[in-house]
Amino acid sequence: MQKGHQSWTFNSKPVIISSAAVGGPFEAEGAVADDFDMLHQDLWLGQDSYEKAEKKLLEQACEIAIQKADMKKEDIQFFISGDLMNQIISSSFAARTLGAPYLGIFGACSSSMEGLAIGSLLIDSKSANYVLAGASSHNAAVEKQFRYPTEYGSQKPPTAQWTVTGAGTALLSQQGNGPRVTSATIGRVIDMGLSDPFNMGGAMAPAAVDTIEAHFRDLNIEPSYYDLIATGDLGKIGHQIAGDLLTEHGIEIPKDILTDCGLLIYKEEQPVIAGGSGCGCSATVTYGHLLNRMKKGELKRILVVATGALLSPLSYQQKESIPCIAHAVSIEMS
């Protein structure tokens, strides 16, 4: 049901009956390694290209989520997924393996929550009973497409972030036990004219702030409603900017409530510069770490605001600025 300008409330409260997070070697050394269902020591995952490795990550995340729910892949009625590769090949190729009716989406790194929001809408409108939503990214495949070769010796500035190698999926259903999706806010495209692909956090922060503001306005609630508000992949600098911008806009979110998946995933001493990024960042942290914390009873209500930078390698070479978006999904433990 539409609420306000850009939000949906789900009256039937779709249930996340199972979820999965799969990660790579760098994530295995990270701060939330225990919350992954599967971790790989090999960045190649035994494949002959990084693109195939990313597809494999997503396939495994799908498999594990289905297995955990004691279901078969034939039971999945719709699969919604997105990633950062050109023509979203990782998602489409994983969908080929899954064999379920498939909706490919692109919201850059916001794809994780875009998928969860659309999936919840399908469940809430009784258009489906089992929907699998996922997103993935692979550090080397993304670097290759958007930046320089991985082994190229250029010095990254302090605003640069580290793309997460990982995939996360959530299986939604009309009934069952687990955390429930209660509402979602779909973001607008915000462009503040920044054009540095090594400063995604700074470019995406206003989009996150816009969506967070819209969420509270549309649903007429206060930030204190949530135990945790996690942005997708703003990193250190973007997180700082977003916090200050929210304060300036008159929204006070306590420091221990507002966090960022890009800051949660890695340890302080890992050389990730400003933090994690990529579709896999918000997907693995939400579907692994955050949902686990909810199940343990540490968190009751969370808001995940996945942020995405909608640029292409071509658009920034042509000196276009970086349009950004953020989608927020509210998950509650009943």
Binding site: D48, E51, Y148, P149, G153, Q155, P206, E248
Partner: protein, 159 residues
Amino acid sequence: MSNKKNKKLTPTQQQYQAFAKAREPEPSVVRNCLRAFLVGGLICTFGQALQMMFINYFNFTEETAGDPTVAVLIIISTLLTGFGMYDHIAQWAGAGTIIPVTGFANTVASASIEHRSEGFVLGVGGNMFKLAGSVIAYGVFSAFVVAIIKITIQALGGM
């Protein structure tokens, strides 16, 4: 930021960019310069040692010793790239590893490795000079222009 670029931005965008800029850490120029000087200098000293070795032990002259010296540096740099160590050194050293011939070897080697998955023709061959191509193109062109100038001055009786 230049004024020309600013004109295209709306006041809100300009305001935000100033807001964001204030929260971005600046790369430390002094520290980066020192590191670049140190590492770049070390590479050049090592190159000098190689050159002297070729002159003293392998019967090269000062003119001809340059070629094997550069070749050794290129081989070392390419190997370090292949073993995945060069980019880590470069993140620390910055311009110190990019400017010498080692940086050029790294751009070619890294692009070749990166595109190996697309095959030898479309992948390695087609992308090998993805980054180094513009250095070669503009380097050769600049050399051509300088040579024309030199020849003209010589023809006019200068030098």
